[in-house]
Symmetry: C2
Subunit: 157 residues, 2 copies
Amino acid sequence: MPGEVTLTFRSAVRADVPAILGLLADDDVSRDRGFGVVPESVDAAIWAAFEAIAVDDRNELIVAVDGDEVVGTCQLTFIPGLSRGGGERMLIEAVRIGSGRRGQGLGGELIRWTVERARERGCRMVQLTTDKRRVDAHRFYAALGFTASHEGFKLAL
Amino acid sequence: MPGEVTLTFRSAVRADVPAILGLLADDDVSRDRGFGVVPESVDAAIWAAFEAIAVDDRNELIVAVDGDEVVGTCQLTFIPGLSRGGGERMLIEAVRIGSGRRGQGLGGELIRWTVERARERGCRMVQLTTDKRRVDAHRFYAALGFTASHEGFKLAL
């Protein structure tokens, strides 16, 4: 159908890293934090982080792809724990949809896919935090069934 | 000096698990969630979670010990990521101080120790969420330098 988007979701490969960095930087809150510039080349610390994720079966760097274009990303971390009967929890971090593609329902598709990923793995809980300034994001996650039950505290080192 | 407590902090061993489960259950919010009863024996899912943490160099189950007594616990997860220049973030989960030992500054000692652990490892960020009902905890983390900058969303599966 005209206008319909069919996203695919997969683990990121090295060739996706520049596009992911672009998505991470393309964001008002990241710009406020001083991370709004896409580096001209990917430095060693970023490659090391990419490789650390790639070999860790409790971390998955996900891309949402439309044709050949990376239009969204997020990172999933599966955390074992003794709470809640010993089930894993899944943490979602670094969710981004490209600024030119927002408002088209792609974020909802991405998050619903991650929740299915958590169910498939047997997780008992999905959790994420979002900056208090991201009021649209708060409505978005509530509409997807999440509850804003917690305060999210951060300490930059 | 009389009344002075010197805690030690270390990774949990199998023998600590019953005490940790006791601490996790000894909490009003956990009771509300239906996890307020300490199981009579530690079941297989809990042992599996303990072993998963023990062999994972990005997860540490910590106990705070006073003499022979486990008086506190928390879990640390070190998360690699492409944000913030490729630095790790440290997530703190499942923080508990035994109900008979609260109000003695032990929680502050525990959290300061974890922040040192994050610095030692080179983390760029420490983060945690705490239930919105835990108003005392909010003051506690703010006093330790944390900022309540985020909304914490959860989805139980």
